[in-house]
C-alpha cells in the first residue's frame, strides 16, 4: 500500500478529535446491562461469568499477553473474536486480553481455539495475572536492564499461579521497572523488580559543554551532589552525595549513568493499591541487588519464587503479601525467607525517622 502524499494527508487530517466513544466497541450484552450488573463468579483460573439484574450473563476468557504484540498476533486474536465473540475484544489494565460471549455453549469452543493458537489462558482469581512492566532495552534510553526478558523468565516459572493450577492466599501483583523512573509505577506492587545503578555517573566533559544547560543540570540533582566545574565549562559530582538516581542523565545525556558491570536489580515487596482491609502501601526493599544475568536472570527468578513460596505457606486467606508482613513483622519476613539484611535496607535518604523501630517490642 502506498503512503499518502502530502496533499492527500493535508486534505483528510483532523486535530483534537479525541478518542472515539467506547459505546461503539461494547459487545451488545454489555451495552444492554451497562450499570446493571448484579454479581460475578470465577469459574476457573482463566474464566469468569458476570450476571446482570436482567439475568443476562457474559462469560469472559482471559489470555496472557507479553505486552509487546505484533500486528500479526493481534489479527490472530481478532480472528478468534470474530468467530466466537461477535467481533469484540478487550484488553485489561495489566495488558491481558479478554474474550467475551453471552453464550455459555461457546466457551469451550473459544478456549479450544485460543489454546490451538498457543494463547495461554489464566490470570483470574487469587494468583498472578500479568506482570506490569516497562520498555527496557527494547525501546528506552534510560533502561539499566531489560524488562520483557526478565518478565518472560519470571512468568515462565510462576505460570502455575497464572493458569490456576496453583493459587495463593490472595491476588499477588507483580511488576518490573527497568530504571528508577518507574514508568510502570511499580512502587505499590506485592513484589516488584526495579533496576538500579550503583556507581557515580561518568561525565563526558567535551560533549557536556555543548549539549547541556549547566544550571538545569545542577538543579536536577536531589542530593545537591552536582556543582559547577568552571575550568572545564562543565560540572563535577560529589561521589559521597550521589545516590545514582540518574536524574542528571535524563536532563544531560553526557553524564552517563550506565555501567553494565555494576548495574542490576533490586526486589521490593509488600505494596498494594486497593483500600481493602488496610490502606494502599508502598513496596519496601527486600533484596538490594542482583546482577543482570542475561538472558534469563535465574537468581532474580529464584528470589521471587522463594518470597512467593514463603508467603503462600504462612499467610492467611485473603491476606496480601504486605498485610502478612505487617502482621508477622519484617524481622520475621527476613528470617523466614532467609534474605540477608544489609545496610542498604535501612533508609538513610529521606525517610529514616519514619522507618526506624521506635518500640521495645520485637521478635527474634
Amino acid at each position: 500500500m502506498a503512503w499518502l502524499t502530502d496533499a492527500e494527508a493535508k486534505a483528510i487530517r483532523k486535530t483534537d478529535i479525541g478518542p472515539p466513544h467506547f459505546g461503539q466497541f461494547l459487545p451488545p450484552v454489555l451495552k444492554k446491562n451497562y450499570g446493571k450488573w448484579k454479581y460475578h463468579e470465577r469459574i476457573d483460573g482463566g474464566t469468569m461469568v458476570h450476571v446482570g439484574e436482567s439475568g443476562d450473563k457474559v462469560f469472559t476468557v482471559r489470555v496472557a499477553s507479553p505486552r509487546i504484540l505484533s500486528t500479526e498476533t493481534i489479527r490472530e486474536m481478532l480472528d478468534i473474536a470474530d468467530k466466537h465473540c461477535d467481533g469484540y475484544i478487550r484488553f485489561t489494565t495489566r495488558n491481558n486480553v479478554e474474550f467475551m460471549t453471552p453464550d455459555e455453549k461457546k466457551v469451550d469452543g473459544l478456549k479450544k481455539d485460543l489454546k490451538a493458537k498457543g494463547f495461554a489462558i489464566g490470570g483470574i482469581g487469587p494468583g498472578i495475572s500479568n506482570m506490569v512492566h516497562t520498555q527496557g532495552w527494547i525501546h528506552c534510553h534510560s533502561a539499566c536492564t531489560d524488562a520483557s526478558g526478565m518478565v518472560k523468565a519470571i512468568m515462565d516459572e510462576l505460570f502455575p499461579y497464572f493458569d490456576g493450577s496453583k493459587t495463593l492466599p490472595a491476588k499477588t501483583r507483580l511488576a518490573m521497572a527497568c530504571c528508577v523512573n518507574m514508568c510502570g509505577a511499580v512502587h505499590c506492587s506485592d513484589i516488584a523488580v526495579v533496576a538500579v545503578h550503583r556507581k557515580v555517573p561518568e561525565i563526558n566533559h567535551d560533549l557536556l559543554k555543548n549539549m547541556c544547560e549547566i544550571p538545569t543540570t545542577i538543579a536536577s540533582c536531589p542530593t545537591r551532589a552536582i556543582s559547577p566545574d568552571p575550568a572545564k565549562k562543565s560540572v563535577k559530582i560529589n561521589a559521597e552525595k550521589c545516590m545514582y538516581c540518574g536524574n542528571c542523565f535524563t536532563v544531560c545525556p553526557p553524564i552517563d549513568i550506565h555501567n553494565p558491570e555494576n548495574d542490576g536489580v533490586a526486589i521490593v515487596v509488600g505494596g498494594k493499591i486497593g483500600s481493602l482491609r488496610t490502606g494502599p502501601k508502598f513496596s519496601k526493599l527486600a533484596i538490594p541487588f542482583l546482577y543482570n544475568e542475561t538472558p534469563r536472570w535465574p537468581k532474580v527468578v529464584d528470589a521471587i519464587k522463594n518470597i512467593l513460596d514463603v508467603y503462600a505457606k504462612n499467610a492467611r486467606k485473603h491476606e496480601r503479601l504486605g498485610e502478612w508482613i505487617e502482621r508477622v513483622g519484617w524481622e520475621r519476613f527476613f528470617s523466614l525467607t532467609g534474605i540477608e539484611f544489609t545496610h542498604q535496607h535501612i533508609d538513610d535518604f529521606t525517610f529514616m525517622r519514619d522507618t526506624m523501630r521506635t518500640s521495645a517490642a520485637f521478635k527474634y
Partner: protein, 394 residues
C-alpha cells in the same frame, strides 16, 4: 524479510509457557526491516548488558507538541532499520474495548507506516505504536485521524486519562468511569496536545476502592467511586456463601478493618455508620452485599513514582462529590487544581511535590475546599503551625 541476525540469547526467551516478546518481534521482522534491526540491536544489548537508544528528540505532527516520542538508535550504521524508531501514542477508547474492524484498521495502517510492533497498551493507557520514521508521521496521523483516532499526551502536558471498565461489566462501580474518562479526555484536548504545564499531569478514574486502574498510586488526580448509603445485605445469599464453605466470621467479620460487622451463624449485619467503605466484604461476598444510596467520587491528589525525592500516594482532598454528565463539575475542580499548580510549580515539579513545598493550606484555599478530618490519617504532631491574620480574629 529474510532472517538477518542470529539471536542465540533471545532465542532462549522463546522457550517456556509464557508468551514470548521475542516471538512477537520475529513475527514483525518477517514483514519489516525495522523490526528485523530491532531484533539485532536487542540481541546486542543482551550480549553487552546495556541499551543503545538515544534520548528522545523533538518530533511530532503539525500543530501538536506531543503524542509522538522521538527515539533514535545510538548505532544507526550497525542497525539502520532503527536509526529512527519513534513511538506514536494513540488515545485508547475508555475501558480498552475494540471492535475487530477498528483494531484491524489500526493494525493495517501501522503495518504500512511502521514496524508492526505495538504495546497494547502502554503504562499510561495509550495504544502504543513502537517504531516509525519522522517522514511517516504526517501521513500516518492523517490516516488515523481521518478514521476517528487521535494522539494521546506526552511531555509536560495533560497525559491521556485512563479508567477501569466500570459499569460496563462490574457490579462494584459506583460511577460511570468510562463516560467520565471519555468526557474529561475531550474537555482537555488542547492541554493534551500542546504541552504547556510545568510537568506531566495524569488523571485516572476507578469505580471503587479496589482501584483496578491504580489511580491512587499512578495519577496526579485520582478519581475513585464511592457511596454514602448503607450496604444492603441479602441474607439468603449470605447463607449460600456459608453453605458453600466460606468461614464468614474469619474471612469477613474478623477482616473488617472497622469491626463494623457481626455474624450470628445465621444472619450478617453491618453497622453502616462505622463502615469505612474499604470494599473487602463486598468483594468477597459480591452476591450478598451491595452499596446503596448516594453515589459519587472521592478526589485524591498527588501520586507519582519515586523520581526524585520519593514516591507519593494520592491524598484525599474531596471525600465525596456528586457528579453528573457531562461532568462540568469535575472539569471545574480539576481546572482550579491545575491553575494553582501551573502558577506555583517550578519546571519538572509534580503537583504532589509542589503541595509538599508550598503547604496544603494554600492549595486547599486556592481550590475552595475546606479542611475536614477525612483528608488526614492523623493531625500534625508538632507545635509549629502557621496562623493567618484572619484566623486570629475568629
Amino acid at each position: 524479510m529474510s532472517k538477518k541476525y542470529d539471536t542465540p540469547l533471545l532465542d532462549e526467551l522463546e522457550k517456556g509457557p509464557w508468551p514470548s516478546f521475542v516471538t512477537e518481534i520475529k513475527k514483525a521482522a518477517k514483514k519489516s526491516e525495522m523490526a528485523n534491526d530491532e531484533l539485532g540491536q536487542v540481541e546486542k544489548s543482551y550480549r553487552t548488558k546495556r541499551g543503545y537508544w538515544k534520548h528522545g528528540g523533538i518530533v511530532g505532527v503539525l500543530g501538536y507538541g506531543g503524542g509522538v516520542i522521538g527515539r533514535y538508535s545510538s548505532l544507526p550504521e550497525e542497525f539502520p532499520g532503527v536509526a529512527h524508531f519513534h513511538t506514536v501514542r494513540i488515545n485508547q477508547p475508555s475501558g480498552f474495548y475494540y471492535s475487530s474492524k477498528a483494531l484491524r484498521e489500526i493494525c493495517d495502517i501501522w503495518d504500512k507506516y511502521g514496524s508492526g510492533l505495538t504495546n497494547v497498551h502502554g503504562s499510561t493507557g495509550d495504544l502504543v505504536l513502537l517504531g516509525t520514521t519522522t517522514s511517516a508521521l504526517e501521513p500516518l496521523f492523517a490516516e488515523y485521524s481521518s478514521r476517528g483516532w487521535d494522539l494521546g499526551g506526552s511531555g509536560s502536558a495533560m497525559r491521556t486519562p485512563s479508567c477501569c471498565l466500570g459499569q460496563s461489566r462490574c457490579e462494584w462501580a459506583n460511577i460511570d468511569t468510562m463516560e467520565i474518562c471519555h468526557q474529561l479526555t475531550h474537555k482537555f484536548q488542547d492541554e493534551m496536545h500542546r504541552p504547556a504545564y510545568p510537568y506531566k499531569f495524569k488523571i485516572k478514574v476507578a469505580g471503587c476502592a479496589v482501584d483496578c486502574v491504580a489511580a491512587i498510586a499512578r495519577a496526579d488526580c485520582s478519581i475513585i467511586g464511592t457511596w454514602k448509603g448503607k450496604i444492603a445485605v441479602d441474607q439468603d445469599a449470605v447463607k449460600a456463601y456459608a453453605k458453600g464453605g466460606m468461614n464468614i466470621q474469619a474471612e469477613i467479620v474478623d477482616m473488617c478493618p472497622t469491626r463494623c460487622m457481626s455474624y450470628d451463624g445465621n444472619a450478617l449485619s453491618v453497622d453502616d455508620g462505622e463502615c469505612s467503605r474499604c470494599m473487602h466484604c463486598i468483594s468477597k461476598m459480591t452476591k450478598a452485599l451491595k452499596p446503596t444510596g448516594e453515589k459519587g467520587v472521592s478526589i485524591l491528589i498527588g501520586s507519582k513514582a519515586p523520581i526524585v525525592v520519593g514516591s507519593l500516594l494520592s491524598w484525599v482532598i474531596v471525600p465525596f462529590m456528586k457528579v453528573e454528565p457531562p461532568y462540568d463539575d469535575l472539569e471545574g475542580i480539576i481546572r482550579k487544581i491545575i491553575e494553582w499548580w501551573d502558577e506555583t510549580a517550578k519546571p519538572r515539579e509534580r503537583i504532589g511535590e509542589v503541595i509538599e513545598i508550598k503547604g496544603m493550606r494554600g492549595f486547599l484555599e486556592a481550590i475552595g475546599v475546606p479542611p475536614v478530618p477525612q483528608q488526614i490519617k492523623e493531625p500534625r504532631k508538632d507545635p509549629f503551625f502557621f496562623w493567618k491574620e484572619e484566623d486570629l480574629t475568629k
